[in-house]
Amino acid sequence: MSFYDVLQKYDKNVVMQKIQSVKAEDVTRVLAKESYSPEDYMVLISPAASVYLEEMARKAQQITLQHFGRSVVLYAPLYLANYCVNNCLYCGFNVHNKIERRKLGLKELVAEAKSLSSTGIRHILLLTGESKKHSPVEYIKDCVKVVSEFFSSVSIEVYPLEEEEYRLLVENGVDGLTIYQEVYDEKVYEIMHPGGPKRDFKFRLETPERGCKSGMRSVGVGALMGLADWRSEAFFTALHAYYLTNKYPEVDISLSIPRMRPHAGSFEVPSPVDDRAFVQILLAARLFLRHVGITISTREKSYFRDNLIGLGVTKMSAGSATEVGGYVEKRGDGQFEISDDRSVEEIRQMLYSKGFQPVFKDWQYI
């Protein structure tokens, strides 16, 4: 049974009804508990719970401190190629967008890696669009070998692969996989992904699990907040993480809450998520999944990011470029617009000033 089967057991309307009908007493009862079930998590993301953000924040802070201490792991993305055969309506790399398509040669990659590692970054996330022609697994593997010389942890965020392909990458030095479902509502998913292999909802949904089976140390899931109603999306994302932590306890499962921002092309965000909602999702996730890492990207504004530290965030990107070759030369045609453009050093100082330690190295290829 995969998570796809688990998902089939839930009727989105029933879930929404349950979340909407939560009462204040349910929230106070759940807040007094020490461990939570998926049902409790529904309570925490309900409209009724939205007035309890302060209480939730206190609890979340305490749990985060206990389990992760006063530290935040820093990482940076590195875009290898922006060729993409998919047609995701919300993405700047979408096949119909007229942007310059590039792919880093291995020599260029060395230059990027050098430039990025000189900032102190030790954990990187390699990204590509979906193109088996321009960025086949062999190419990704070669890139992994190159960057392993410069970084102590290498994760990938590329198109969904088969378990064997992941295993090959793990053997060559990859330890983490990030793969967002984008949206858990299958109907909305179909609308958002009108063309290309990404149309296969089930194959994508089962990707994190293939990653777990392949020997990845850490696997990150998430939904692109804003594509469908956030309460049910937050529920299914957390349920996915919960499913994975139970089934693959040896894998570090992490969760991300990427929120829609403007990008190249024009796309109106269907269900915008405001700051309060964002914080509620974050806090509820921390209470429900106490050991799960929570990642926050540079899509969020600096002021907002700074204030989330200690509330549940365990990992954040710093000094990010979201364009191919962006660490050597910035052109401004990234996958999404960066809202926090501070350098690694500035983020480092900010963390220290808030009483948190920036952790650059939290893993080492062994």
């Binding site: 530290s71 932590t245 330690q357 939290d362 893993w363 080492q364």
Partner: protein
């Protein structure tokens, strides 16, 4: 050798409080924590050691007269623990190794079987092996037989600050195993550290409770005092605990009277 010495791996230790090096707001706090806690043994996660960075390399913040106890945090099985241990040695972290094998990210409980396997391999390679484990007498005995220098049972799941929840099991280990028993994980308050020491633990390892305190340095000193007090109490021999007060006129006194009146 002083009278009440704790000797591990041939080193006579001056403090029975071991501390961690993670979770602090800054590595630069470590020297102060070491100073005020009086700790000599400091555990370091090998995965976090960054030799390439002058400033962020925590080894640079640990005073030179400390004994480094690198740990294999992040290892999910014996093989990974062994690889991390060898890496620690290659990095120049010495021969001590705390084996930590956790294959359960939900409760973060150690995997005793894999830990035992790693103990066997690393002890043969000449490491001073300190396995972190769920308190279980038989496995601890096997670890001893495999060459462990001490065993480190948990007081409660790591990071929970719940105290000495495994007291009965740890007590049995202290009674039955002729190796130092070091309570690691779960100790949340100085009083709980004292409790472990009163029980006869050879030492305690504290990380989260110090790192997450409002004043980490102050808490480090509090733990230092508690560990000393607990040890002194253990050496002095605590009085027997009675379950209920003894009534001043004994309830069964009439029996004696009955005899004398005969």
């Amino acid at each position: 050798m002083s009278k009440d010495a704790l000797v591990i791996g041939g080193i006579e230790l001056r403090s029975r409080l071991f501390i961690g090096s993670g979770k602090y707001s800054s590595n630069s706090l470590i020297p102060q924590i070491v100073d005020r806690s009086g700790a000599q043994v400091v555990t370091v996660a090998v995965r976090r050691v960054d030799l390439a960075s002058e400033e962020e390399n925590m080894l640079n913040h640990i005073p030179k007269d400390c004994v480094l106890m690198p740990n294999t945090s992040g290892a999910r099985n014996a093989e990974e623990a062994v690889r991390i241990a060898r890496l620690a040695r290659a990095m120049g972290c010495g021969d001590w190794i705390k084996i930590e094998v956790i294959s359960d990210t939900k409760y973060l409980l150690p995997d005793n079987l894999e830990t035992l396997k790693a103990t066997e391999i690393l002890a043969k390679e000449g490491f001073v092996v300190l396995p972190y484990m769920c308190p279980e007498l038989m496995t601890a005995k096997r670890m001893r037989d495999a060459g462990a220098a001490a065993v480190m049972p948990l007081g409660a799941p790591i990071g929970t600050n719940k105290g000495l929840r495994t007291k009965e099991l740890v007590k049995i280990m202290i009674e039955e195993i002729d190796l130092p028993i070091i309570v690691d994980a779960g100790i949340g308050k100085p009083s709980e550290a004292a409790e472990a020491m009163e029980l006869g633990a050879a030492a305690v390892l504290v990380n989260t409770a110090i790192a997450s305190a409002g004043d980490a340095v102050g808490m480090a000193e509090a733990f230092s005092l508690a560990v000393k007090a607990g040890r002194m109490a253990y050496l002095a021999g605590t009085g027997a605990v009675k379950n209920f007060a003894e009534a001043s006129s004994p309830l069964t006194g009439f029996l004696d009277k009955a005899v004398s009146k005969k």
